[in-house]
Every structure is written in C-alpha cells, then in structure tokens.
Symmetry: C2
Subunit: 260 residues, 2 copies
Amino acid sequence: MATCQRTKETSGETVLARPQRSEEITKRIIDLIIDRDLPPGAPMPTELSLMEDIGVSRNSIREAIKALQALGIVEIRHGYGTFVGSAGSEALQTWLLFRTRTRGASDAGRLRDLLEVREMIETELTRRVASDHRPELIAELEACVARMRRKGPDAAVADREFHDLICAEAGFDLARELTGLFWDVYRAAEGELGGPVSSAASTAKRHQVIVDALVSRDGDAAAEAVHRHFDEVRKRAKAGRYGGFGEARPVDADPAAATS
Amino acid sequence: MATCQRTKETSGETVLARPQRSEEITKRIIDLIIDRDLPPGAPMPTELSLMEDIGVSRNSIREAIKALQALGIVEIRHGYGTFVGSAGSEALQTWLLFRTRTRGASDAGRLRDLLEVREMIETELTRRVASDHRPELIAELEACVARMRRKGPDAAVADREFHDLICAEAGFDLARELTGLFWDVYRAAEGELGGPVSSAASTAKRHQVIVDALVSRDGDAAAEAVHRHFDEVRKRAKAGRYGGFGEARPVDADPAAATS
DNA sequence: AGAAGTAGGACGTGGGACGTCCTATGACTT
DNA sequence: AAGTCATAGGACGTCCCACGTCCTACTTCT
C-alpha cells in the first residue's frame, strides 16, 4: 500500500521521477527541526512518527537520519531516542581527514593546505584579539606556555588550548571551531605519515612571542608572531620523512615576503 | 549465522560491546578506499561484495554508505553503482546551512561568523596573491568587474567568480573551496532571511579597488581593499530587515523592505 | 519508603522481496 | 554491413517483517 503512493495513477499528476528520495527525506527532516524550532539536545520525533509524517518506510527514514548523523545534525542514542545535534565541527573530521589522506589530486599538498588555512585564520584572529581582549587572557595563555615547556603528552594539549583560547577570545564560533578542526586533522594526518617530533623548548618560545605581542596590543606584531610560529611548524614538517610537502609551487620564493 | 559473529562465545575474546556498528563499517569502507588507492570516480565494490567482505547485512552497509554519501566521500548512481567521491565542499553545504539557520546559540551572529571567516581567509589570500600572480589574472578580474556593473542576475555570478579567481590563484584548494562554500551558504541564508538587494555600481567599485591593489602588487593595500569590501557587505547586511545582525536585532518594521 | 524486578518504548541489525535505473548485448531493419 | 531497437542482466532504491539490545519508568516485594 505504501508503494501505491508513488505510482502515477493514484496521484494523477506528472510523474515525479524523484531521483533521490532520501535526499528529499533529509531535507524534510531538517525543515522539521527548523520549523518546530527544536534546540540542540531536544528529542526528535520517533522513527515511527517520521515514517507516518513523511510517508516512507522506516528504512528510508533510518538512512536519512544516518546521513544527518554523519553531519552532526542529529545524535542517536541507542535504546533511548534521536536528538537534535549541535552540528559541531567534529562531524567534519571524517570528511577533512579523508580529503587529506586521499592523495589523488595534489599529493601531500593537502597537508600544506590545512596549515595555510589555519595560518590565515589565526593570523587575522590574533590581530583582532591583540587590539581587544580581556586582561585575564594573558595569564591563561602564559599558563599554557608554561605547560608547553614541560616535555610530555600534555605539551600538545597545551598547544591546542593556547590556540583555542585566542580563537575563543575573538568571539567567532565558526572560526574557532574550524581552527580546532584543522589542528586535530593535521595532527591525525601527521601521525599517520610518521611526522617528526615537536621540539618543546622552541615551540614554547614561539608561543611566548605571540603572548608578548598581545600584551603590547600590537596587531601587526601579533600577526607577525603567528606567521613565524607557522614558519616553524612548516620547517618541522619539511624535515619529516614526507619532506618537501607541497613543492608543487614555491610560493615562498621571496624571503622578504615570507615575513610580512 | 551472521548474528553469531558478535556473540561472545564464538569470538572468545573480550566482549567488543561495539556501541555503533555502522561507525565501524564506515571506517572500514574508508580504509578500503585508502588501501586500494581508489581515485575519485573509481567504482566502489558492490554492496553485495561489501556485505561479504565486512560481514554485515546489506541494510548496515547501505546506512554506512549513506553516511559516506552525506560527506561526499562516495557518490551513488541509481542502477549503476557506487563510486568514490571527491569529498568536495558541496557536501558541507547542508551542514553549514543548518548551522547558520539554527539560531539556538547566538541568534543571527552565525551569519556574521560566516562573513568574518571569509574575510579573514580572503584578506590573507589576496595579500599573497598581490605579491605573486600571473599577469593574465588582472584581465580576468576586470572582466568580472565589468559584468558586475551590468545589473541583473549575472552580477552575482560575476561576484562569485571574482573571489574564486583570486582564491584559485593562491593555489590553496582548501581555502578556495571553503570561501566558495561560505559564499554559497551566506547567499542561501541571506535569501531566506529576506536580505537586501545588492547595489551594483557600488559593489563593482569596491572590487575595482582590489584589482588596482593587485596591479600595483601592494599586499597591504590589497588587504585593506578587501577589508573595505567586506565593510560594505556588512553595512548592506545591517540595512536588511534582520538589521544589526550580531546584536539581539530589533524588529524594525521597515516599510521599504516589505516590497520583496 | 527504598530497592529490585519487570514492562514498554525506541533504536540496531538481519534477511528477503520487488521496483527502478542503467548498461550492454543481441536481433532486427534499412 | 551498419544502424537502430528490444531485451537481459547487474546494481541501487524502497519496502516489509522479525528479533536483539539498550534505556526509562513503573510496579512490586521487602
């Protein structure tokens, strides 16, 4: 009987020929969330309810929900229910990691892309934070730098927190989440490629320069410090076993322009 | 028999208690793509093959593939087969649009975030392009600006192409795709909110300034020009009916805007 | 009243069937 | 012989049903 709905004679209209039903279902579910103004964490209608509302079978609903789950738009808890998700950046990790791992297009250049984009965002972000930030921020950043000096696994965590603190200070959620995402994916891809180890002391020093620039509220100096920090990361990456990543085009041919 | 695989007594090892089988399947399929080095466009194994390789039912395989499809990692063509996807940024449109439409967190601030991140990336991108670009780029950009001057739907297309040209010139695929994504999503969200129309002449002028800066190969001037361009966009957005995006937004019943 | 056990709801997985779409191969026509 | 059309096969799309697992909430026993 459910199949009867999509035969032409019952509807009488032009054949819909819907190329992808599931895409339509996905859209409908999203619209449902928007229309009912369901906040993140709110319980979604039951699969059975959606079945009836949308008029398709449970499998179709489940596949659509699965696609939504992959995007972080919904969260599924076994035996409990489906809930509206926050669409956080974690959902993109699979996507970006795949994109980075697959070397079909520009070889290892994708890893460089990751770094470049992060550098662009953080440079501008730090520039803005330099001219407008809470005084407490400095102490928090210094604490991170101190932790970086101590060798160990916590140094990497402190590194991430350092950048996250700055990004959060700017107040742009999207930018903050993206940089965090790039950081995580870079780290994962780097580990997979057998990247080099980080030098703790040098890293801490580079970060300290950024803090100093923030203290003096000098936007240009802050941007410059961030650039130098990324130069360091690039140098370290180049020393790895996948050396010379992204040699497709020597953009940094101009030594003077590299510091800008 | 398939069910027997996951009972503890057959495996004899510690109970896996797999919280989500489909997540495991998704991972396995991705690894399969990487291991076999399947390039984008290559045909994926049949669902039946995957069933046997991974050892789960077709429904489970299909749900995993559906999740992968949502991320653009695979493409499905009905009646033909499943193919490796390019993981392009189009896949993130649903995610980002949802994230922008849902105003649970910071109201309309998300739209502002979109603009800010794009500004950050394009600013730095343009700065780099200023110091290193092909001479032909200028002519291509000027052609876009000329098209912007003519009113009509093509003006928006030219606008997009203009920014895309610059981003492409820098050579960072990821940055280019992200800015394109932000552009598309902003446009979609703007339309949904009943955004204001763009003033053709003014827009063309702002873009011309960017071209001029590129001609003189002045990085700082180019960055400045991009900033001004985005100031313009922000100003225009602020004039919309959802005026003052970023603030709590006062519902200013502007009679002039009611025409659209 | 408190704690253990039980009933119900909801998602997870498996298996099968049929429809739809695309491709390719064969027969037929010109 | 070459081109066109019809048919067979493969692969995905949708549907249905059944059972397992997990969590919640209620009932019942102590």
